[in-house]
């Protein structure tokens, strides 16, 4: 069975499980179990799947665990899962009228992404890039001018552990980041909250605001080095924060522009099609292209 189908079946089982009625004693047992866990963060979805529980109990357990950690995200994900369960049933051929081969060909990407999101629920992302997860701040640990590397400690929040993150200067002057031995990625792919956390940490360090003893030692030894690598990284990240924030502002301005063309008091509902077409033509006009 390929990963897509396995993921989709897992999600379906979860959705089906949540749809099944659960008795009061069963619900209480699940709640008690979750409350009694000393380290609920260690019980991930894979581990729960391995318990071999009845679907409704497994779903209730997942729901309870995730709800405790990420209440808003779970509410949205579960609502979406219910909403979308019809889609998944159809695309997997569980409904007789669907053509499984054609349907699975249509939706695997979406199913995979949705399940990935469910597996990696993390708060505090604004959707503009990869989230660093539940992070309340970052602290400079060390830097190495020769290697072009800056090491930081990400301080977890909401029960998340601290993690190591390193910034690596590339030959083209940009920076990659790497979390706890994971894959190196361009810093541009981080979301705004992630970029801000890193930028603030580096900015504080360049401004001499960091109180870390390691930094104090480094500062005495390599004052010039510190200024070079940290300032460069801080400026680079600062630019990225500004760029991403500007992009968001532009999107909002575009929306405001659309609203000003006669829709100010009419944001939802039926309207004149010609006016919508005219506005769309303006929005998406490409030189030389027929509409």
């Amino acid at each position: 069975m390929d990963a897509v189908k396995r993921n989709a079946q897992y999600l379906l089982r979860l959705v089906d499980g949540l749809a099944q009625p659960i008795s009061a004693p069963e619900a209480q047992a699940v709640e008690r179990t979750v409350r009694s866990l000393k380290h609920p963060e260690l019980l991930d979805l894979g581990a729960i799947e391995g318990l071999g529980l009845a679907p409704k109990l497994e779903a209730a357990l997942v729901f309870q665990l995730l709800s405790r950690r990420y209440p808003d995200q779970v509410k949205a994900a579960v609502y979406s899962a219910h909403t979308l369960s019809g889609v998944f049933l159809a695309v997997l051929g569980a409904k007789p009228e669907a053509d499984p081969k054609r349907a699975v060909g249509q939706a695997p990407e979406f199913v995979t992404r949705f399940v990935d999101q469910l597996h990696a629920l993390r708060p505090e992302s604004d959707g503009t890039g990869t989230s660093l997860g539940a992070v309340r701040g970052a602290k400079l640990v060390s830097h190495d001018l020769a290697q072009g590397v800056v090491r930081l400690k990400l301080e977890g929040s909401g029960g998340e552990p601290d993690r190591d993150l390193s910034l690596h200067r590339r030959d083209d002057g940009a920076f990659d980041y790497q979390v706890a031995g994971g894959k190196r990625q361009r810093v541009e792919t981080l979301d705004l909250p992630g970029l801000r956390v890193l930028h603030q940490a580096l900015h504080a360090a360049t401004a001499g605001g960091a109180q870390d003893p390691m930094l104090a030692l480094l500062r005495r030894k390599t004052e010039a080095d510190r200024a070079a690598v940290l300032k460069e990284a801080a400026e680079h990240l600062g630019d990225l924060v500004t760029q991403k924030a500007e992009r968001r502002t532009k999107e909002l301005e575009q929306l405001r522009g659309a609203l000003e063309v006669g829709f100010a008091d009419f944001r939802v509902g039926f309207f004149d099609k010609d006016r919508i077409d005219a506005l769309a033509k303006e929005l998406f006009a490409a030189p030389g292209k027929k509409d």
């Binding site: 808003d72 995200q73 949205a76 609502y79 979406s80 219910h82 909403t83 979308l84 369960s85 019809g86 889609v87 159809a90 695309v91 409904k95 009228e97 669907a98 054609r102 349907a103 249509q106 939706a107 990407e109 979406f110 992404r113 999101q117 992302s125 604004d126 959707g127 999107e251 575009q254 929306l255 659309a258 609203l259 829709f263 009419f266 944001r267 939802v268 509902g269 039926f270 309207f271 004149d272 099609k273 010609d274 006016r275 919508i276 077409d277 506005l279 769309a280 033509k281 929005l283 998406f284 509409d291």
Partner: protein, 122 residues
């Protein structure tokens, strides 16, 4: 409000999947043009081999002007057409029958999506 937005691409992938599995339910061909102000133009044609394509066409039976936030909230159940939030935008025009058929085909107990579309008909 949930800040984790469904991407416009995912929304139309989802819509395409929903429509693909319900092709038989359409007695006539439906065409809808979506102008997503922060997500580009999209064209839905239930009679075409590829139901969704990324282009603007004004010959659609229905034209919709909307934004990503509204599409995302439509899927997530945070968009109430009767009480839209300040950032919601979903204005549509054209053949009411087309919109009505779409809402009926997508409707049903399982899909809040269809229910919201039905609410928009009013």
């Amino acid at each position: 409000m949930n800040d984790k937005l469904v991407t416009v691409e995912d929304f139309f992938l989802l819509l395409g999947s929903l429509l693909e599995s319900r092709r038989a339910a359409f007695r006539r061909r439906l065409t809808l043009a979506f102008a997503v102000v922060d997500g580009g133009p999209w064209f839905v044609d239930t009679g075409a081999p590829r139901i969704i394509v990324q282009e603007w066409r004004r010959d659609a039976q229905v034209s919709v002007l909307c934004n990503r936030r509204t599409l995302s909230d439509l899927v997530g159940g945070h968009f109430d057409p009767n009480a839209p939030a300040a950032e919601h935008l979903f204005v549509w025009g054209g053949d009411k029958e087309t919109f009505s058929t779409l809402a009926q085909v997508l409707g049903g107990a399982m899909t809040a999506f269809g229910a919201h579309l039905s609410a928009l008909k009013r």
